[in-house]
């Protein structure tokens, strides 16, 4: 009997010792998807036959002594903006519902090379931006902690599927918070790595200069395992970094002692006021990090609205350019939320866009200066627990200012970490941010925090 919930690390240890069969694990997840996903809508497309074949191949390789590592035989899900060879990649949109790529995205290929078993394509907000929408070919994903609640977006299916134990990890993308938002609302760990660390080749774009691919899983350790497989130079992505990839899992063992953390309190106490439960949970998390040997002190940056104005102007401008052709010809084939946000984007001028890029340079320098004597900064990832799914405003991306897009502007590694639950049992979180290409430090702090707190022991009741 395979447990309902396993982390990647737990499953990998059992698979390596041949105490868990990848085929049994795959079948147990397919059974779970069949039982639960009618309520969660986390999958757009389940690839049962392909997954079982991949699991059988993994089992045969492992039996032959060819164990590839901690993703070998592990069931994962792929957000439906990551291209998959021979399998429709739709962006959760009518506009691309017949798009069948010839090749896998670079990062999907790397995950398969590491032995991961792709269980299917996961729901997203339309083209990683609209949503939650009820007028698309597939319904929006629901939050496993309370199916009347929003998952966050846009990596909504990944958030729901991992939280519900339908897969052990998955891929997300993050242009303004689309990994960290669903991770926060669904109680996961999710890291937006440094810009350029994971190739964007083969992933449907939203905003070229802000798009980040990244992993989502139950723990920071599992995110490290997925990041290890996904990261690496790709000449097909002009922003791909060419530098050695550290051993992220080995780095986890260093603990958090001695890390210097700046707490950006005004982001969530003044600029986008978080509710009392969130503020209290972050205060408690900061104390827990101090208890682990970190130093934590308040820092002040430009108002959150400045960061959001910069990031949202760039995102909307780049997204409009990407979709301009189809918007002119098929405006009403897009969902209402996406198309109306794009209509607003059309009002941005070329000068606005260039001013945003000039502001971006200033803001990057500002954060670099603020972090000169710090290792990390922390702040809120969301202003509250997940709201009801039918109470998300159409233009929420612009008002109130996003708590997450600042670190898309700077390209910094940024992670959502669960730091408790409301009285109603909904997850709360904080965001931890590192210097560019110091993703290992972010993962290390998150892992130490998770090990020192009980929040990873609770799972949604379904």
């Amino acid at each position: 009997m395979v447990p309902d919930f396993l982390t990647i690390a737990e499953a990998a240890r059992l698979i390596e010792k041949r105490e868990l069969s990848p085929v049994e694990l795959c079948d147990s997840r397919l059974d779970r998807i069949a039982r639960l996903d009618d309520r969660l809508h986390s999958f757009i497309r389940v690839l049962g036959d392909d997954a079982r074949a991949a699991a059988q191949a993994a089992e045969a390789e492992i039996a032959a002594g060819k164990y590839r590592g901690p993703l070998h035989g592990i069931p994962i899900g792929v957000k439906d903006i990551y291209e998959t060879a021979g399998v429709a990649t739709t962006g959760h949109s009518k506009v691309m519902q017949d798009h069948v790529p010839k090749a896998d995205a670079f990062s999907v290929k790397k995950l398969r090379d590491a032995g991961a078993v792709v269980m299917g394509k996961l729901a997203t907000h339309e083209f990683a931006f609209g949503g939650p929408s009820f007028d698309l070919p597939w319904p929006p994903a629901r939050n496993p902690w309370d199916t009347t609640r929003f998952t966050g977006g846009s990596s909504s299916g990944t958030g729901a599927a991992v939280a519900a134990g339908l897969v052990l990890g998955g891929t997300g993308s993050d242009t303004g918070g689309s990994i960290r938002g669903p991770a926060a609302y669904c109680g996961l760990a999710g890291i937006k790595p440094t810009y350029g660390l994971i190739s964007r080749a083969g992933i449907l774009p939203l905003g070229f200069s802000l798009d980040h691919a990244g992993p989502m899983a139950w723990t920071a350790e599992d995110c490290a395992t997925l990041l290890q497989a996904m990261a690496g130079h790709d000449p097909a992505d002009p922003a791909s970094a060419s530098r050695p990839i550290p051993d992220y899992r080995a780095g986890l063992q260093s603990g958090a002692k001695g890390l210097r953390i700046g707490l950006i309190r005004h982001f969530y106490e003044r600029d986008n006021e978080a509710n009392a439960a969130t503020r209290q949970a972050i205060d408690t998390a900061a104390k827990a990090l101090e208890g682990l040997g970190c130093s934590v002190r308040d820092i002040t940056l430009s108002p959150l609205a400045d960061w959001a104005a910069c990031g949202v102007t760039i995102m909307l401008s780049e997204a409009y350019a990407i979709h301009e052709h189809n918007l002119r010809r098929r405006f009403n084939d897009y969902g209402e939320i996406f198309r109306d946000r794009m209509a607003l984007a059309g009002l941005i001028t070329a000068a606005d866009y260039v001013q945003a890029l000039r502001r971006r340079r200033e803001l990057i320098a500002e954060l670099d200066d603020a972090m000169a004597d710090l290792d990390l900064v922390m702040t809120a990832a969301a202003p509250s627990e997940a709201p009801p799914i039918d109470q998300v405003p159409k233009f929420t991306i612009m008002n109130p200012p996003s708590l997450t897009i600042a670190f898309n502007v700077t390209g910094s590694p940024a992670m959502s970490v669960c730091c408790g639950y409301t009285d109603a049992g909904l997850p709360l979180s904080f965001q931890i941010v590192g210097k560019r290409f110091e993703d290992a430090t972010v993962l290390r702090a998150a892992h130490a925090y998770e090990q020192a707190t009980p929040w990873r022991e609770r799972r949604p009741e379904l």
């Binding site: 959001a308 910069c310 918007l327 059309g346 009002l347 001013q355 890029l357 502001r359 233009f395 612009m398």
Partner: protein, 60 residues
């Protein structure tokens, strides 16, 4: 932004926006204007202030 101004802008963009959605967009247009204002410092920028360049050119 007035409805007339919005209608003119949407016509220039070539977007076939349903009538019932135009009021929502007109009502939200101030958000774009507010962001645009935030991007511009009161005294303007030094003329040589460069934008961020985040995409690398291929190495020769």
């Amino acid at each position: 932004m007035t409805r007339q101004e919005l209608d003119a802008a949407l016509a220039r963009l070539g977007l076939d926006v349903p009538e019932k959605e135009r009021e929502d967009i007109a009502a939200a247009a101030h958000l774009i204007a507010e962001m645009a204002a935030r991007l511009r410092p009161p005294g303007g920028r030094d003329v040589s202030a460069e934008p961020a360049h985040v995409v690398k050119f291929p190495e020769s």
